[in-house]
Amino acid sequence: MMVSAHAISDPPDRRPLDLSPLRLLVVDDNRHMRELVTAILNALEMTRIRPAPDGAEAIHELRAHEIDLVITDWLMDPVCGIELVRWIRTSAESPDPFMPVIMISSYTTPDRVVEARGAGINEFLVKPLSPRSLYQRIANLVERPRPFVRSKDYFGPCRRDDDGAGYGGPERRGPTEPAPRQARRGAA
């Protein structure tokens, strides 16, 4: 078994992140884009990757396999990336409504980003895809996970840039509590 130089010389708290244990689902209807994303992830030593050519196939994969993180395109048929995220967040059949999701898209207009965030994505990545940006987004999900918010019309990661953790004033959004089982299934 190969051991990296970091593993030998650095104490655990000073080593870079080792993302190799992550199990990923890469969803894109363009085969070459799936291959590009997979090649980048492999170079970053993430090799537990399942591909899916559209949202419908992704749902099948999520039901059949343990997945830690979804990386998805937006525009796909028959189930697009936004519909996939909504299914993950709100379907009673979703294996994990808290599943981290990174959306990759060429859409850059603010209304599109707002739409994606409204569906419940964790991170939005604009094409062209760069290894650094993808790596950084995954690291963000590990190092700075956002709390989730459940309201009558939204369930997903807190959409504030500052998630409010440092604010304790009277306008602070509602109480934080451990996730009840029912919130994980079919939440609003």
Binding site: R14, L17, L129, P131, F148, G168
Partner: protein, 180 residues
Amino acid sequence: MTRRRPGTRADAAAAANDVVRLFPPRSLRARVGPGKGLNPRLLANAEATVAALQAAYEQRIENDISTLSSKFDSMRRSGRFDHQQLYLIAHEIKGEGGSYDYPLLSAFGHTLCLLVRRRNRLTAEEVETIEAHIAAMRAVIRGQVRGEGGAVGRELAANLDAMVVRALDETPAPSHLKAP
């Protein structure tokens, strides 16, 4: 974790709106273990991987454009227009151009998709517009016109946009260079 004393006015408002903050029961940190920040060695690996794929992409996309051109010629000769075949190739071109620093190819692929989808017959103007797209794609890849291509690239994109608008009598998606 509740950060305020319960029973305050804000609590009552939050309860009325039924807004609750939750922490995911599983964390990626638990799966990944200790460690902090990016690994520069792995990042360099990944950047070298993409650079190696770039050359392969340029060769492959040139082949795709040739396939698009020959299929379109064949359809014109036979008089049988198969929009699905052209759409699939245009969609592939659209999907990855930007990631290899060829956003113009993505933009041209996008407007070509708009033009050919759900069409089984073409007007002379539409034929001309498809030919213009193919010629523009060839020019971009042969000239290795990366990025938005400066003033020439913008003019080319605007001309194709205008041709598609005329052909479709509708406006294509929000911005030519921001195709999904």
